[in-house]
């Protein structure tokens, strides 16, 4: 019994070392950086600061969110039009280790600040901080953070492209992008509320 316990502890120790090694494997980190700067950058920019609103900004995005989304693209559980057109292919051959490192790479880049200066920004800020109880729209701040910075698998919204944010909110609302939580939060949102939120959070 003692030997079994020792063997188990030893095995666990090895596993821990292996996991730690995998997590910080310089070769995987390098491969992820190469992937980001040679392939992903074609659309998202070399540091995730994409120019075109077609492609979301990834600089400063939550690592866990990027990891989760890449896996969703890979297994096709995220199936909105742009996911299918672009990311199903791009994520199809990524393994878990490089996906994790890609998340870390972009999370480590300096985020783009929001403009917060649009005409509707004040309305958007109010909606973000307090929600719209009459429409069952909860306060976004609860999950996405005081500054729209996100948390783990909850994405950063601050500084995202306005058009991208708008399209995602519309996609959640229509269920084009599948998320029970976000559909429930957006299903009663009006177009003008979406415009206001985007005006507060985004940076064109």
């Amino acid at each position: 019994m003692k030997y079994r316990l020792a063997a188990l502890l030893a095995a666990n120790a090895c596993l821990a070392v292996t996991v730690a090694f995998a997590a910080d494997n310089p070769a995987v980190m390098k491969a992820a950086e190469t992937k980001a700067t040679r392939t992903c950058q074609d659309c998202h920019g070399s540091k995730g600061d994409s120019v075109s609103a077609t492609y979301p900004r990834l600089n400063g995005q939550q690592a866990d969110y990027i990891t989760a989304q890449l896996k969703n693209f890979r297994d096709h559980s995220r199936a909105d039009p742009h996911a299918q057109a672009f990311m199903w292919g791009m994520a199809s051959q990524l393994d878990d280790a490089i996906i994790v490192e890609l998340g870390k790479y972009y999370a480590g880049q300096t985020p783009t600040p929001p403009q917060s200066g649009g005409a509707l920004a004040a309305d958007g800020k109010k909606l973000y901080l307090t929600g719209a109880p009459a429409q069952s729209v909860p306060a976004c701040v609860t999950c996405h953070g005081a500054h729209g910075e996100g948390n783990s698998i909850i994405p950063r919204l601050a500084g995202q492209h306005a058009d991208y944010l708008k399209k995602q909110l519309e996609a959640f609302r229509s269920t084009l992008r599948d998320s029970d939580i976000m559909h429930a939060n957006t299903k009663d949102m009006t177009d003008s509320q979406i415009e206001a939120l985007v005006s507060y959070l985004a940076n064109d």
Binding site: D42, S52, F86, G89, M90, S92
Partner: protein, 458 residues
């Protein structure tokens, strides 16, 4: 001039016209290919607004040598762990088919029909995709019903790599190709410019464009080096030599026409600025070609030994610009090109085939196209060519080849690889006149043409 001489000259003119028409219609045979989609896993819309018009990402994919892939691959390494094989487990093969019907306003002569149907107008096979980590190819082989044969079509084989230099993303590479500008990234240049598809029944003016626009495709081989920095600044330089299909210039025992003397230098520079959903490109392109044993638009050919053949020299200098607005709902493209050509006709003049020792020529076109949801589209194009008066060289009644015409097209794209279109072309002026341009009572408007087509790629 005897009637026999006249007949021979018009016959030669007809041959030149068919030659010119064939090459003037080159853009008709280019398109996106599904093998790129299969290789990358990306839908057509990633690289195209609607084929064959490229998006900014499509330009990067092309500049990167068609090598982006997201499929399983067959690989091998040597003992030094160096990659010696890296190919997709599926060959990047595609096909396209065009079928069409045309109705010209007035038949060319009593022996010709007003209406013609072409099935297929063209049938093409492509190898289009990655060859190795840094090498990719776009190779097109086409059956053309006007030629009645299968032949090599546009070909672009590339080596490309990318480097990060002082924070700048630098794509650089080489292109081996058979048509000047087929390697280009913008649809404002000749090989990929409007019209993307056109009727085989369309009449072509005596000179349908500058040399770089119509005269070089598939009969030259070029090698160029290029760089594309930060997806904005593009610079390319290269040279072309004659590479005739079906014959060798060396030891062929015959005189051969329109052979590039030495090499023809080619240049290209462009700058693209992207903001939001917009992109705007402005660039220059050009080529200098000295042609041995030239054939004139009038149909006269100089046939001397290539060892001491005289030359006509053509310097093409062009400007181009492309604006695009692309989002999911609306896709707008505006393309403009102007090319000025200096023609030094030493060879033709000394043979008595040109009135002037040197001529000028200008070609301009402007196209605006709009697509709604990549489903329904419309485009308007305007083309104008003008040049010196040179009756002997051009062989036209007016003495020049000045022509202008416009095209309106509507398209229906039920799937991204299927396009149905209806096109109407109006000629305002043809070979220097709007009426009686051939001296036999034919008017420019007699060449007006209604053209319907189906274009599928699979």
């Amino acid at each position: 001039m005897s009637s026999r001489q006249t007949r021979v000259q018009w016959s030669n003119r007809l041959i030149f016209g068919l030659f010119a028409l064939t090459f003037a219609s080159l853009p008709q045979s280019v398109l996106a290919v599904p093998s790129f989609a299969r290789q990358t896993g990306l839908a057509c819309e990633a690289c195209h607004t609607v084929f064959p018009q490229l998006t900014p990402f499509g330009r990067v994919f092309k500049a990167s040598g068609y090598t982006l892939f997201n499929t399983k691959k067959v690989e091998d390494i040597n003992k030094l762990s160096q990659s010696i094989l890296s190919i997709s487990d599926l060959p990047p093969i595609s096909a396209s088919l065009m079928a069409s019907t045309s109705d010209v306003a007035k038949a060319d002569d009593s022996n010709s029909s007003k209406v013609s149907t072409d099935f297929p107008q063209q049938l093409s096979l492509f190898y289009a995709g990655r060859i190795s980590d840094n090498v990719g190819a776009f190779v097109q082989i086409t059956y053309d019903d006007q030629a009645g044969s299968i032949g090599i079509d546009n070909t672009d084989i590339r080596f490309a790599d990318v480097a990060n230099i002082d924070g700048h993303n630098v794509i650089y590479g080489l292109s081996l190709n058979n048509n000047p500008t087929v390697q280009d990234l913008w649809n404002s240049t000749p090989a990929w410019g409007q019209p993307f598809i056109g009727s085989p029944a369309a009449q072509a003016p005596a000179v349908p464009g500058a040399q770089i626009e119509y005269a070089m495709g598939q009969i030259v081989a070029g090698l160029s080096v290029y760089t594309y920095i930060d997806e904005s600044l593009y610079v390319e330089a290269g040279v072309y030599r004659s590479a005739l299909q079906g014959q060798s210039v060396a030891d062929n025992g015959n005189t051969t026409n329109n052979i590039i003397s030495g090499v023809a230098p080619y240049w290209r520079a462009a700058y693209e600025y992207d903001w939001g959903k917009n992109s705007w490109e402005f660039g220059t392109l050009g080529m200098y070609a000295a042609l041995e044993n030239p054939t004139t638009p009038a149909g006269n050919a100089i046939n001397l030994s290539l060892q001491n053949a005289p030359t006509d020299r053509f310097l093409d200098m062009g400007l181009d610009s492309e604006y695009q607005f692309i989002d999911d709902e609306n896709q707008v493209s505006i393309d403009a090109r102007w090319i000025h050509e200096n023609q030094n006709l030493d060879a033709s003049y000394s043979a008595g085939f040109a009135t002037n020792k040197s001529d000028q020529f200008d070609s301009a076109d402007l196209t605006a196209s709009y697509y709604w949801h990549r489903k329904l589209g419309a485009s308007l194009s305007f083309f104008n060519i003008s040049g010196s008066n040179d009756p002997l060289y051009l062989g036209t009644v007016s003495g020049n080849s000045n022509s202008s015409w416009g095209t309106a097209e509507i398209d229906f794209v039920p799937w991204l690889n299927v396009k149905l279109g209806l096109q109407y072309t109006v000629f305002m002026r043809f070979d220097g006149a709007s009426t009686n341009y051939d001296g036999a009572g034919r008017n420019a408007s007699d060449n007006n043409l209604l053209y319907g087509f189906l274009w599928v790629a699979f």
